[in-house]
């Protein structure tokens, strides 16, 4: 029992990781896959941050010049801080691809069928300017 409680946070991270992983594999919807990726990512972030925790420590920001206090390890925090911002950049890149797929194929589900069809022409699209793509005077029916 003690052993379960000792490792409780690790069990949670494992469960979160697996929830995200399962969603990535089994969901065909592309946005859902990206959300699964976010959960997976969050599990890794939590693991890193908890690795830096020190018992009796405080946040690595010195209050009142007290440099001798016990501080939590700042290194994992630095890594994860930047990783979160990179995470949203990659998430938006993924969403941009999903939006293009939706426009080209009319669906963001059932990607396997699209891949089997092998027709990539809709994704390439028309060149800008062909379609009345001028900044003003557009949208007149």
């Amino acid at each position: 029992m003690n052993f379960i409680l000792d490792y409780f946070n690790y069990w949670i991270f494992v469960v979160l990781l697996l929830i995200g992983f399962y969603a990535i594999i089994t969901r065909d919807n592309l946005v859902k896959k990206l959300l699964g990726l976010s959960v997976f990512q969050a599990a890794v972030f939590l693991l890193f941050i908890s690795a830096g925790k020190v018992d009796g420590g405080t946040a690595p920001i010195v209050l009142g010049g007290d440099w001798d206090a016990v501080f939590t390890n700042p290194l994992p925090q630095v890594l994860i801080l930047t990783a979160i911002v990179v995470g949203i950049s990659t998430l938006s890149l993924g969403l941009a691809i999903v939006v293009r797929i939706k426009e080209a194929y009319g669906s963001i589900d059932d990607v396997d069928a699209m891949a089997r069809g092998g027709d990539l022409r809709p994704l390439i699209g028309r060149r800008p300017g062909v379609n009345g793509d001028t900044p003003s005077g557009n949208s007149s029916p």
Binding site: T58, A59, L63, G106
Partner: protein, 130 residues
């Protein structure tokens, strides 16, 4: 220890709001629950700042309060776009009352909605799976 009661109540309320967010039934219930949850997080963080004796944690509470508001507005904007883009907002009403159907019929005769639906038809707004 002074704020033990408050922290306890906030934690319980967070789980209640979470249950509401998971149960739904309508999307508006979920948005309400998310908003509630955000407010409770702000309060929890403020109390934690006091318990930890670190007033710099209050920056976080402030940031959460600001971000929460933006989240709700983003949702409202999303609803507005959906009302514009599709004729009948689907899948978000599971109201037990028969009034729902009537309300829908009412909304359909609304000129603004008509115009929007006409526009989306003209655009060939392809429905998923079509």
């Amino acid at each position: 220890m002074i704020f033990l009661g408050a922290i306890l109540a906030i934690a319980v309320t967070m789980s209640l709001a979470l249950v509401r967010a998971l149960l739904g039934p309508s999307v508006y219930d979920r948005v309400l629950a998310v908003n509630m949850f955000g407010t409770k997080t702000v309060l929890l963080l403020s109390c934690m700042a006091f318990v930890a004796g670190r007033s710099d944690y209050l920056d976080l509470a402030l940031a959460y309060a600001l971000i929460n508001f933006i989240g709700v507005l983003a949702v409202l904007e999303f609803f507005r776009q959906r009302e514009r883009a599709t004729e009948t907002p689907e899948g978000h009403i599971r109201h037990p009352k028969p009034a729902t159907a009537h309300a829908h019929a009412h909304a359909d005769t609304d000129p603004a909605t008509d115009a929007a639906s006409g526009a989306s038809e003209a655009a060939g707004d392809s429905e998923p799976g079509a």
